[in-house]
Amino acid sequence: MPEEVKKKRLTDVGPHDYHDYLPPMVKKNYGKWAYHEIMDSGTMVHVAENGDKLYTVRVGSPRLVSGSFVRDLCDIADKYCGGYLRFTTRNSAEFLFEDEKNIVPLKKDLEKLGLNIGGIGNNVANIVHTQGWVHCHTSASDASGVVKSVMDELYEYFVEEKLPSKVRVAFACCLNMCGSVGSSDIAIVGTHRRPPKINQERLLNLCEIPSTIASCPTNSVRPDVTADGKQTVRVVQETCVFCGSCYTVCPAMPIADPLTDGVSIWVGGKVSNARTKPTFSKLVIPFIPNEPPRWPKVTEAVKTIINAYKEGGRPGERVSEWVDRIGWPKFFKITGFEFTKYHVDDFRLAESMMNYSAYARL
């Protein structure tokens, strides 16, 4: 880059052109792939129309990584992949290379670095998750810690293909649900259970009243007047559903509470259109308290679900298809989870969720 340009402040350069980072084999066969084959849970090969082969080895990632981690990956890429690598939409890292003989040594090197190889095919993929206590102000739980605890338990399902189909587990630390969490096979969602506590003084300085009122899904934030006649808001405790939306727009309405925060568990979401339409995850456990550092009840619940699915799901059935087939009553029966009033939708479109038929498994 010439000197004079360098001095000028750069703005709006836009994203880097991806062409610069496509491996030669990809460039050559761009748009000309013929088919792929999954070789094992961590390895697949894509075959081009002309017979060229591109091998991929995938590793899991905590996503919150150090520069050293990046360099670890780069070293491997340099050694086996001409320096190229990519990440997946679920934050796995993928090594792409042409020579089948690299598979074994590459994997050995990866293992030496403590990396987990897997996630391809019918297994638990890398968990997508959010910031949690590491970086977010609205979190009802930590993210990385829950995910680490769960993945330690699900490890065998990442490194081996033992499940009826793909299982996408996701974590979000509050109802904002950063990510496609609400449509995962298993979703873990940070959940508050107390209404926000209003700090009147801060509110007067920091919050815009109309947008705070508008933020509430249940119309529980209402205009109010302070003792000394200033515009403020109050929260109708009876209808507040602890979503934290008001806190997002108004810092004076904190909602996190160590005693009552935790997570809820949701099952049977799906994004792909294959066979069945995309669908949201459904509530299965309304609440599990936060138990750092290892969230044992959460990991147990997730394992219970995975085991039931492994046991009952037929080959090729996603979790949603399995539950559709056996029915929700049976899901609750075999997992032992309790069905409560919280499971019955009572929000805006609740009516469309009811069983309008005589169908029942008796």
Partner: protein, 397 residues
Amino acid sequence: MGKKHQTPLLDELKKGKWISFVREMERAAEKSPRTEDLLGQVEESYRDKITHWKHGGMAGVKSYGAGMVGRFSDSPEKYPGVKECHSMRINQTSGFFYNSDILRKIAGIAEKYAGGLLNLHGATGDIQILGVTQAEAEDAFQAYAELGFDLGGGGSDLRTPSCCVGPARCEFANYDTLKICYDLTREYQDELHRPSFNYKFKLKFSGCSNDCVASASRSDLAFIGTWKDNIKIKQEEVKNYVKKFDVQKYVLDKCPTKCMWFEGDKLVIDDSNCVKCHHCINEMPKALKSGDEKGLSILIGAKAPLVTGPRMGMMLVPFYDVNEDSKNDYEQLKGLISNIWEFWDEYGVSRERIGELIARVGLVTFLEGVGLEPIPEMVNTPRTNPFIKFEDEDAAQ
């Protein structure tokens, strides 16, 4: 080994087979000491079961309204290194392709100007750099810009578009997801960097209806590859699959419209009834391929739960000939996107996503606003309630 803060709880999370983020934080802290304080604060959260970040706060670089998330510790006295601990969003490459050279540089800047911690990648798609201070933000930004990387979205703006690996490494791609993602991101630099929308707006691109970038569940506009003509069948390969597994049971019986059957050992598809779910192609990639008239469907309105409940993308344009339009620099598509943004600008209220606006004003009003016709593909079924708002001209016929 002089640990600045004792972290007995976090240390528990270094155990177990899955790779540990705590190890990563510790490694980052080695190069970037402020991250030691981050470890301390997170440990405190583990003890207290509550976040120790203050609500929001400003952070950013000049002439940009987006691309950084401000974050301040609520205990700066105890954890001075994270008094400010902003994150910076760096627009990833299309398809998340890199080489070791650039990645090392990206990591190096994160270590130099921030906490040495990265999210690879953020849930929207950006590379996130954690632990930036306002004072160093500009330098970090310029360092990335010099590498040819820019900030991503944030706030009420267009968010960083992202895409699946598509034609780069997938035989299923029906259009060039990487190219359109790149081209549109460049086209909309201003919308990305300078928030002027009612709320956030997301674009995601998947090459087929497997939707590997989960566009239909989290982007205001989801672009999902499809095709118009017949699925291409290699009958010989079908026969090979029949030898390998029960094709009837695992493929045909699972076709949502049951539009495939065998005549003798010949596979027949009634393509007029195929909804392009992609299942059969997934199961028999050597035997089946999508047709020649490729393009994409546009789904609109997906978003997270707040405020009016979660939304999936709903069908807006069943087939858009992206391959034709790409020759024209996506002129037609950009026209549609501007119409949508204009409608949203005019009728949406603050913090109302496009899907919520459509739900509020009604799909038909929206369609009229953006110049599209209502078609049956948009709905599961026509209406079932009889409350039809006939218009005067119709009633006067």
